[in-house]
C-alpha cells in the first residue's frame, strides 16, 4: 500500500518540484531545480570511491578544489558569529576542520 503512494512512486526529485511554492517560510525543490552546490556536494563527495582504469584523483585538480571550497562558507567567519554547533557532529567536524585548514593554507 505504502509503496503505491503517489509520492513514493514518482521518480526522484520530481514530487516537490511539481508542487509549486509551499506555504510559510519554506521553499521546496526537486532535484531538477536543485542548486549546483546541492548536486556537487553529493555526486562529487558522496558516492562510492573506487578506482576506475582512468586514474583521476579529484583532490589533485587544483581549480576544482578551489572552486568547490566556495561551497563551504568560511568556518572562521561562522565561528566568529558563534555558529559552531555543527562541530559536535562527528561527520561534519572532521570535514569542517579539514576545510578550515585548507582555507588557512590558501589565505
Amino acid at each position: 500500500m505504502g509503496e503505491r503512494d503517489p509520492m513514493t512512486t514518482t521518480a526522484y526529485g520530481s514530487p516537490l518540484a511539481s508542487r509549486g511554492p509551499a506555504p510559510g517560510g519554506l521553499s521546496a525543490r526537486g532535484e531538477s531545480g536543485a542548486n549546483l552546490a546541492d548536486i556537487l556536494e553529493r555526486v562529487l563527495d558522496k558516492g562510492v570511491v573506487i578506482a576506475g582504469d582512468i586514474r583521476i584523483n579529484l583532490l589533485d585538480i587544483e581549480l576544482l578544489t578551489i572552486k568547490l571550497r566556495l561551497i563551504v562558507a568560511s568556518v572562521d567567519k561562522a565561528r566568529e558569529m558563534g555558529i559552531d554547533w555543527w562541530e559536535h557532529d562527528p561527520s561534519l567536524s572532521s570535514r569542517a576542520r579539514r576545510d578550515e585548514l585548507e582555507g588557512r593554507e590558501e589565505g
Binding site: G2, D5, T8, A11, G13, P15, L16, P23, G24, G25, L26, S27, A28, E31, N35, A37, D38, I39, L40, E41, R42, V43, L44, D45, K46, G47, V48, V49, I50, A51, G52, D53, I54, R55, I56, L58, L59, D60, I61, E62, L64, T65, L68, I71, V72, M81, G82, W85, W86, P90, S91, L92, S94, A96, R97, R98, D99, L101, E102, E105
Partner: protein, 284 residues
C-alpha cells in the same frame, strides 16, 4: 557499432544496483554525461549502470583538464545525478563518485569485483530509503535604516556608534537563526533513521542570497516521506527569523559511506586546532 562502443572503449560508471533484470526498462531513453545511451552491465549478481564515452573527453588528460571548467563540471554532475536517479527509480541504488571511468566492459566487471562488498553492504543498508535535504537560511535582515546621506557631516563618534549598533543587531540575528536551525534539526532528527550535516553552502555556488546556517541530510524509509515533508512545512511556519528549504527525495548519496568511514579520514586527538597536521584529504 560506433567507435565509442568498441569493446575496449571507455565506459563511464554511474551507479551499482542489484541485478533484478528490470533495469533496462528504467534506463530506456536515459542519456549520460556524453549524451550517450546508458545500460546495465551485469556481474556477480550486481549491475553497473554505465555508458560509452569518447576518449577525447574522458581519457585521463582531457578529463583532468575539463574537470577544471566549472561549466563542464556542472553539466556532467547534473547528467550523472539524472542517470543515478533513473537507475534508482524502482530499486535500491548505490552511486559511484563522479568521473569513475573504466576501460571496456572488462574494466566495469573488475570494478564490481573490487567494490563488491562495499556495494552489497550499502545496498542492504539503504534498501527502501531516501534522503531529504533541509537547509535553514537566516532570514534577510530588515531593510536598513536609510543611511545618512554621504554628504552629511557625521562625526567619527557617531559613525562608530552606528557601526557598533549594526554589529550588535547582526550578532542578535545570528543568534536567533542559530537557535532556529538547532530546533529544526532536533525536530527532524526525531523522524530520521540517520542524519548527516553538510557544511553550510556558499551563495556563490548555490545562488542563494541569504546566509545558510544549516545544511542537513536525513535518511528515512521512502514511505515516510510525506510525513517528513509535512513536518518540515510545520517547522517552516513556526520558526521565526529563518527560512527553510526542502530538497528531495534524493538517492541516499549522503549515507553511502558507513558512518565510521565518514570520520576515518581525520582522526581526532591533537586537538584539531590550527597547529594540527594538515590532513591528507581535502574536503572535496
Amino acid at each position: 557499432m560506433t567507435e565509442a562502443l568498441r569493446a575496449d572503449g571507455l565506459q563511464y560508471a554511474y551507479a551499482v544496483v542489484r541485478d533484478t533484470g528490470a533495469l533496462d526498462a528504467a534506463l530506456d531513453g536515459v542519456h549520460g554525461v556524453a549524451g550517450e545511451p546508458v545500460r546495465a552491465v551485469v556481474h556477480l549478481g550486481l549491475a553497473v549502470v554505465a555508458g560509452p564515452v569518447p576518449a577525447g573527453e574522458f581519457d585521463e588528460g582531457p578529463l583532468k583538464e575539463r574537470l577544471e571548467k566549472l561549466e563542464w563540471l556542472e553539466r556532467i554532475a547534473r547528467a550523472h545525478a539524472r542517470v543515478v536517479d533513473a537507475a534508482g527509480a524502482d530499486s535500491g541504488v548505490v552511486p559511484v563518485r563522479l568521473a569513475t571511468v573504466c576501460r571496456g566492459e572488462e574494466g566495469l566487471r573488475r570494478m564490481v569485483e573490487t567494490g563488491r562488498e562495499r556495494f552489497t553492504e550499502a545496498l542492504d543498508r539503504l534498501d527502501g530509503r531516501v534522503e531529504w535535504g533541509v537547509k535553514v537560511y537566516a532570514a534577510a535582515p530588515p531593510p536598513a535604516e536609510p543611511a545618512a546621506a554621504p554628504t552629511a557631516a557625521v562625526s567619527g563618534r557617531d559613525y562608530l556608534r552606528r557601526r557598533r549598533a549594526e554589529r550588535q543587531a547582526s550578532a542578535e540575528r545570528w543568534g536567533r537563526s542559530e537557535d532556529g536551525a538547532r530546533q529544526v534539526h532536533e525536530a527532524l532528527c526525531a523522524l530520521a533513521e540517520q542524519t548527516r550535516l553538510h557544511p553550510p553552502q556558499d551563495g556563490r555556488i548555490s545562488g542563494e542570497a541569504d546566509r545558510n546556517v544549516l545544511n542537513a541530510a536525513y535518511l528515512l524509509p521512502r514511505a515516510e516521506s510525506p510525513a517528513f515533508a509535512g513536518r518540515v512545512e510545520e517547522l517552516a511556519r513556526s520558526s521565526a527569523g529563518v527560512r527553510l528549504e526542502l530538497t528531495g527525495p534524493w538517492v541516499p548519496y549522503s549515507f553511502v559511506a558507513p558512518f565510521s568511514e565518514d570520520t576515518a579520514g581525520a582522526p581526532d586527538g591533537g586537538g584539531g586546532g590550527p597547529g594540527a597536521d594538515r590532513p591528507g584529504r581535502s574536503g572535496v
